[in-house]
């Protein structure tokens, strides 16, 4: 049987569907909520549940399970920014002492500056999120994407330009770690919520 559209199909059964739509709703038994609450089992502390317990909004197995507040989102950017800052300082000092008498490729030479610049940008975004989350979240979104692209590009150039297996290995490792951090920040920004997160708001 062919019908031109949904309404036509449903119109054939209007007499039945009207009875269904108008049928009075059955009242729930008295005290149903109380009986359910009384039967709720105690939540046992298992190792699995321990990892899922949202101390932060983070779930170690499935990413963020609930909205990320602006302070938390800012914290993640500041944390990763701080990581790059320390990493940049170590590279700067390390490279100077290690390669004092060796020729350094252009790529290797700019790595400390690259790390410090990344740190600066991430910290700036973190501060921006903390001060004015709603405005900064758009910048954070673009910044995270740019960060991911630059990390991949930097890693690829490192592999191509160094021709040293150890350097290529480290370049790949740091790029992979960088991409994972970018993904983490991306998820945090995606779950960003400008509103305060608390159960009080729900009860109000």
């Amino acid at each position: 049987m062919m019908f031109s559209n949904e309404e036509e199909k449903l119109a054939r059964f209007r007499d039945l569907t009207e009875i269904m739509a108008k049928a009075p709703r059955q009242e729930t038994p008295d005290g149903l909520t109380g009986r359910i609450m009384a039967r709720l089992p105690e939540r046992k502390a298992t190792v699995r549940r321990l990892f899922r317990t949202p101390v932060f909004a983070t779930d170690l197995t499935f990413g963020f399970r609930r909205p990320v507040a602006k302070t938390e989102c800012a914290f993640y950017f500041l944390l990763i920014g701080f990581f790059y800052f320390v990493f940049g300082i170590i590279l700067m000092i390390g490279l100077k002492s290690m390669t004092a008498n060796l020729p350094v490729t252009v790529w290797l030479g700019i790595q400390p500056a690259f790390s410090l610049l990344t740190a600066l940008c991430l910290i700036a975004i973190g501060v921006g999120l903390y001060v004015d989350g709603d405005t900064a979240v758009r910048v954070a979104r673009i910044g995270t994407l740019l960060y991911a692209v630059l990390i991949i590009l930097n890693g690829w150039i490192g592999i191509v330009s160094t021709h040293v297996p150890v350097a290529a290995f480290f370049s790949t490792t740091f790029s992979t770690a960088g991409v994972m951090m970018a993904a983490f920040l991306g998820i945090a920004v995606k779950h960003y919520t400008p509103e305060p997160i608390s159960s009080q708001g729900v009860h109000a």
């Binding site: 059964f13 739509a21 729930t28 359910i36 399970r65 159960s199 729900v202 009860h203």
Partner: protein, 187 residues
């Protein structure tokens, strides 16, 4: 029918943090529709009562599995539908035999919520309920969710985990069969 998705997610997060009392908010919000779903599916008031309790307890036990990016009511309904299906399978007999404790709802007010038209007669509702229970379970649940629970085809598909076309097919085949059964009953 559903509470705001974000509010639901916040309540769930609050419960997972240990605020068990927040669960009453979810029970209060969804016990009515779920009880009616169970009642329509089983035709038994006491079975619907037990099933509604079971659904909420099972939901509580598995709350950590709920993906907070999705709708809580869809997740709860999916869980509910599965429990109801299992219950009907376990009983393995026609629920039409359960008329002993069956209570057909009495109209509380005259006219529907919109104020248009009259309530269908008790006789026609009773006949429809009886014929409804003669439909295969998957057809029946699709019709109940669509017309008694007033959900969209998309929501029904999300709950049952079937494709949209499969849900529509079940609904229309079910309605067709119901129409035939109702006409036979009139004779």
């Amino acid at each position: 029918m559903a509470m705001d998705q974000k509010i639901d997610a916040e309540i769930v997060a609050s419960i997972l943090k240990g605020d068990v009392q927040s669960y009453t908010l979810l029970i209060e919000a969804y016990k009515g529709p779920l009880f009616n779903l169970a009642f329509r599916m089983t035709g038994s008031y006491s079975d619907a009562d037990d099933l509604t309790q079971e659904i909420f307890i099972r939901a509580y036990q598995n709350l950590h599995q709920f993906d907070q990016d999705k709708k809580f009511f869809t997740w709860l309904y999916t869980l509910g539908i599965n429990l109801i299906r299992n219950h009907l399978k376990k009983k393995a007999k026609d629920v039409a035999h359960h008329t002993t404790d069956q209570q057909f709802p009495e109209p509380q007010t005259k006219g529907d919520a919109s104020g248009e038209g009259d309530f269908p007669s008790e006789e026609s509702m009773k006949r429809l309920d009886e014929n409804m229970r003669r439909l295969p379970v998957d057809w029946r649940e699709a019709i109940i969710l669509k017309f008694y629970q007033d959900l969209t085809f998309e929501e029904v598909a999300a709950i049952t985990g079937d494709s949209l076309s499969a849900v529509k097919m079940r609904v229309y085949r079910g309605l067709e069969k119901l129409k035939q059964l109702m006409e036979v009953a009139k004779l």
